[in-house]
Symmetry: C2
Subunit: 438 residues, 2 copies
């Protein structure tokens, strides 16, 4: 029988009825003999309520106290869940982040997990209990409560699965898995049966919201098979697992987009050492994160410098740049916040030549101008005008035949679970010293 | 400068505005140089909300999980409070029951404090912080969360004051202090300036609700001066302190009543060894708490046995007694749930003869029949018909001149605080091993 970690988000446990339904689902596994660890988020709406209360107390709520407040959300859910299991006649116990010794760094409201002590959970599993762990929360070495930031419960679940050497980690969500692209944009979008950790990392960083990027990093590091699936159906979802031959046969696995960036161009920058530093230090010192950077040499000793920043920081960055342009003797600064970054991702790119040029041709054929390009080993991103986003996604999805995919080649049903269930146990140490994100 | 522990209940911190107002009050002390420890309850209404949620999950909510759920209430309040202090420019830190190492026994939902480790609080006080501690909660030696039951935050405050050797413990409430009797019943009721621990224990056990009885037990054991006062005024309240000469000059300190009991009489009980056990074991084995027991010998080998139980257990007890009567060969069982227990309390009774007989005469003069009598060294209780309760209280209050009291003899204003502020520090060990109640 397997040791399974299951994580349910806030919408899955939004009220007593939903908590009972989730408990029923978990107990189904338990009755089959599986050892079950459940990770829960706060009931949907609770976190917003706490943030609202905190904002009434302090203009910028103290991060340490914010964590004390936020951590109550998961604490309430796990207690209610354990009651539901006990009412149904099985045994359960709720455990908080500090009880499980999920230690983190001191970065309140966005802490990172450092170690997990699996001993207490194992003891309760041995006693036949369903162990219900509060997601999203940890504790510093000094005993202060911390929280892991948005998507933190995913990370809790995967980190627990690693520490417990679980057979699998199931992430329950309100969609059926990871799709080749957003089904709301492209009606041919197909659920991906199996995807590699690296591809999932790229998709998560490029805008896909289904899995928190840190949890994917954990899964990759400790080789935890992650199954992303729907709370509301029994259908198999998407397995996020180690790369294999079959995945590599597929040049592109998914198309994604990000509309949260803005583009800024500084024209005719004198091409002398130290210029880049003069441009970017004033931005990054304000905590603004620069994503893509592209430099095009013009005639003579002049270059154009283009980069993207989060759209919410666009106006501030433009103000800073007006001063910088004068300082460095550039011609001027232009920008736009009506852009989108469209990306294709796939481990198969490594073995398939010409994927990037196919992408450029597809966009060109649709009359879409490419403003910026950025590539990695397994992805190509193009910045385009925002209004073309959906058109670009559908064209790329069609061009790379993502509606077909490898599912045709072998029976979809049996492939993923069979593989995962015979997968060797994760090789994580009992106390993973993990710096999650990358 | 003094070390002061202040406790505020749920109605005092019911919403962000009220939390801010309380924080202002505490900061006033802090600005004067006092070392401040604040104990807070859950926001009014939160506990009921949690109980309601729990009842939707499990017919009889699991006590361990109930405590995990309930403990979130205080956790939220202390975080919000600390934010309010920081917003105002002072420093504060919130601490949970397990962080302060308030260890308790394993009696979930009504745990008793065993030890408190004052070290962490002292360190934060030394650093100039207002320390904000979650009331009502503790932790077992195994690390399970517990709660202390109704009025538990009072106990947290007094126990902390003992462990910290605080100069005083202020319990803030929605009344101005402890009164000679209920002001709603007797318009001459007078606020008591100073009352002894023993008198307060009797008053609390006899129906006065202003202070939790376990907190008074703690205060007595560790000689913590407790100041019961109003959140809404600056007026001095009531000091609960060690007995002194002045208190002893007063035969009666207060009159109180309890309408939550019912009386049961078993008539013509064969007066043989073992009968009492046969009567009470079937009741107490059902968890029913018997309060007063009176046995009157009749002619020959027969007695009448009368006792009181909580009114909510009246019907159940009567059913049990019908069987018992048959078993032991008694004549029959009668009872009434229209009774009230009226009590007078005062340490001065020890030195004044005839207090009890004065009480009986006062009731008799009003035409009130006494159904049962129970006495201790410092109290006399009479069970009467419920309808006479208010009449009895007013008559006793007048007869013992409680509207005057010792306040006439010396200036009320200066007496209490002056005395308390020079009081020697509590002699509690850092880790009080205390079995609170009595």
């Amino acid at each position: 029988m397997a040791l399974i970690v299951q994580k349910f988000g806030g919408t899955s446990v939004a009220n007593p009825q939903k908590i009972k339904a989730v408990a029923e689902r978990v107990m189904g596994y338990s009755r089959k003999g599986h050892r079950m660890v459940v990770v829960l988020s706060a009931m949907a709406g609770e976190t917003n309520r706490f943030v609202d209360l905190a904002n009434q107390m302090q203009a910028i709520p103290d991060p340490r106290e914010m964590d004390v407040l936020l951590a109550t959300g998961e604490q309430a859910t796990i207690a209610l869940f354990a009651m539901a299991v006990k009412e149904a006649g099985l045994d359960a116990i709720s455990l908080l982040g500090d009880q499980v010794k999920i230690t983190t760094d001191r970065m309140h409201t966005k802490a990172r997990i450092q170690t997990i002590d699996a001993a207490l959970i194992n003891r309760h599993l041995d006693a036949g209990k369903i162990v219900v762990v509060a997601g999203f929360q940890g504790v510093t070495e000094d005993g202060d409560l911390t929280t892991l930031g948005r998507g933190g419960s995913d990370t809790t679940a995967v980190a627990l699965a690693a520490a417990l050497k679980a057979d699998e980690c199931e992430i329950y969500t309100d969609v059926e898995g990871v799709y080749t692209t957003d089904p709301n944009v492209c009606k041919n979008a197909r659920k991906i049966d199996r995807i590699s950790y690296d591809e999932m990392l790229e998709l998560a960083s490029l805008g896909a919201k289904v899995l928190d990027i840190r949890s994917v990093g954990f899964a990759k590091r400790y080789k935890v098979p992650v199954h992303v699936r729907s709370t509301f159906t029994e259908t198999e979802g998407t397995w996020v697992v180690e790369e294999d031959k079959e995945m590599e046969s597929n040049p592109v696995s998914g198309v994604t987009c990000n509309k949260n960036e803005a583009r800024i161009t500084i024209s005719k920058v004198p091409d002398v050492p130290g210029t880049a530093s003069k441009i970017f230090t004033p931005i990054t010192s304000q905590g603004i994160v620069v994503d893509m950077i592209i430099q095009n040499t013009r005639e003579g000793k002049l270059t154009d410098m283009t980069f993207t920043v989060p759209r919410t920081d666009y106006k501030k960055t433009m103000q800073i740049m007006k001063k910088v342009v004068a300082d460095i003797g550039a011609e001027g600064v232009t920008g736009s916040d009506n852009i989108a970054k469209v990306s294709i991702v796939g481990v198969g790119m490594r073995n398939h030549a010409g994927i990037a040029s196919t992408m450029f041709k597809v966009l060109s054929d649709e009359g879409i101008n490419i403003l910026m390009i950025s590539t990695s080993e397994i992805k190509v991103s193009c910045v385009i005008e925002e209004k073309y986003t959906e058109l670009a996604i559908r064209a790329l999805h069609d061009a790379f035949h993502l509606d077909k995919g490898p599912a045709k080649k072998k029976p979809a049903k049996s492939a993923a679970p069979a593989k995962a269930k015979v997968a060797p146990k994760a090789k994580a140490a009992t106390k993973p010293k993990a710096k999650s994100k990358k």
